[in-house]
Symmetry: C2
C-alpha cells in the first residue's frame, strides 16, 4: 500500500541504488517542487511541456498544455510521463568520468485526462493558488464562468512512480584519491528574491503574509515542502 | 538561416506572443542552463528523463539515458523532444486566473543518435566538463578506455526549435486593477552555495579558479550563459 510496485516502465535502470519506490519518498520530491515536465505522444512524436502542478494524494493536476489538443478527441485519457527534478549541487570528482549532480527526481506514469466538471475544476484551481500562496484565495474575487471555461485543467492518478536521488560527495576510483585535484560539491539551490510590486499597485496595498512566506533568500524547495504539509 | 522555421510541431500554440524562433533566442536559453528534460517513446509509452547537457552550434549532447536501450537496436536515431526551462519568478495577479510564472524555455526537436566514435566521444565528454568548469580538464587525468566504453553519449542536431519566454508584471483584467490586492512578481533564481570539500580531499589542495567562478550567491543561469561564450 505504501509503495509503488516497480515495473519495466518505472524501475530505475541506471545507477539503480539511487532508486526509491515508497510513496513517502515520491511525495517528498513532488511536494518540494512546483514545476514538472509532462511527456506525451502525438502521432509517434514525443513532446515535453514544462508547467506548474500540484498534488492531492495520488492525484496530480496541471494547467492545459498542447496535450489538450489531443484530449479533445480522447476523453479516455492519454499515457503521460510526469517528471520532476530538483538540482541540489554539482559534484566535482577527481576524474571526468565521476563528475555528477546531486538531485532529487521523480518519474510518474499515468493517464492524463481533461477535467470537465466545473465544481471539480474550480476546487482544483483554488487548490493550486492555495498550495503556494496559502489563504490568498480569500483575498481574490472568485473565478468567473468565462475564466473557468477558458482554463484547460488536466489531471492524472499516479499508476506507478519512482524517485531517484543522489546526495553526498563524489565517489572516485580508489587510486584517484591520491591525486592533488580539488573535489567536492558546489551546492545549487533555488531561492526567492525581493518581491517586485506591480507598477500599477494601488497606493497603500500592503504585502500580505502569504507573500512574506516566500521570503527573500529562503530556499524554494524547503518552503514548498513546508507549505505542502499545511494546505 | 538565423531562425528555425516554425512547423505544426514547434509552433508555440498557447500564448503564442511569447514564442520566438530565432537561433539567438533559442541558444540564449539553452546556454543559460545545464539541465534538460529529454522526451522519447518506447512502444507508445512516453518517457521524460532529466539530465545534464551541453551545446556545440546546432548540436546537443547528453549522457546516456534509458533511451540508450532503444538506441542499441536503432542506430538511425529516434525522435526526441528536448526541453529546457528556467524559472525566473512567480507572478501574482489580482485574480486567480491571471497568476502566472516568469520563465525562459526551449523545446527542440531532432533525432537522438548514439555517438560511437571514440575520438568524437572523448572530445564531447571533455567539452562537457569544460563547459561549466573551464580548464578543469587540464588538471584531470585523461578518460581511460574502460570509462569511454562505459559511457553512453547521445546527441542530436536541432531540426526545429522554439523558445517561449515570459517576463514582467502580471497582466490583469482592466477592472481588477482597482482591487486592493497585492500584485507583483516574487523572483525565483538558482544560486550557488559555498563549496563543500570532499572529506577525503588531500591536505593542502586549494580551490581552483574554475570552482571560484561558481561563486557562492552567484546566479546559476547568468554564470552558465557567461561560461558558454568562452569555451
Amino acid at each position: 500500500m505504501d509503495a509503488y510496485t516497480p515495473t519495466a516502465r518505472s524501475k530505475v535502470k541506471r545507477l539503480h541504488e539511487r532508486g526509491r519506490y515508497d510513496r513517502e519518498s515520491v511525495f517528498a520530491v513532488l511536494d518540494a517542487s512546483l514545476f514538472c515536465h509532462i511527456g506525451y505522444v502525438i502521432d509517434g512524436q514525443p513532446y515535453v511541456t514544462p508547467t506548474g502542478f500540484w498534488r492531492v494524494d495520488d492525484h496530480l493536476y496541471w494547467h492545459g498544455s498542447s496535450a489538450s489538443r489531443m484530449l479533445r478527441t480522447q476523453s479516455a485519457g492519454i499515457p503521460v510521463c510526469f517528471t520532476v527534478m530538483i538540482v541540489d549541487g554539482l559534484v566535482l570528482a577527481r576524474s571526468g568520468f565521476h563528475h555528477s549532480v546531486n538531485y532529487r527526481s521523480v518519474m510518474a506514469f499515468g493517464q492524463a485526462r481533461k477535467i470537465e466538471d466545473n465544481e471539480e475544476k474550480r476546487a482544483a484551481l483554488n487548490a493550486y493558488v492555495d498550495r503556494f500562496l496559502p489563504q490568498r484565495n480569500r483575498e481574490l474575487r472568485p473565478i468567473d464562468a468565462q475564466e473557468l471555461k477558458a482554463t484547460t485543467l488536466l489531471g492524472m492518478t499516479i499508476e506507478e512512480a519512482s524517485a531517484k536521488i543522489r546526495t553526498g560527495p563524489p565517489k572516485d576510483d580508489e587510486p584517484d584519491y591520491e591525486l592533488p585535484v580539488w573535489a567536492g560539491v558546489v551546492p545549487v539551490r533555488q531561492v526567492f528574491g525581493e518581491p517586485v510590486p506591480d507598477p500599477r499597485l494601488r497606493d497603500g496595498t500592503k504585502v500580505p503574509l502569504h507573500v512574506a512566506t516566500l521570503a527573500p533568500g529562503a530556499d524554494f524547495s524547503a518552503v514548498m515542502a513546508r507549505l505542502a504539509k499545511s494546505y
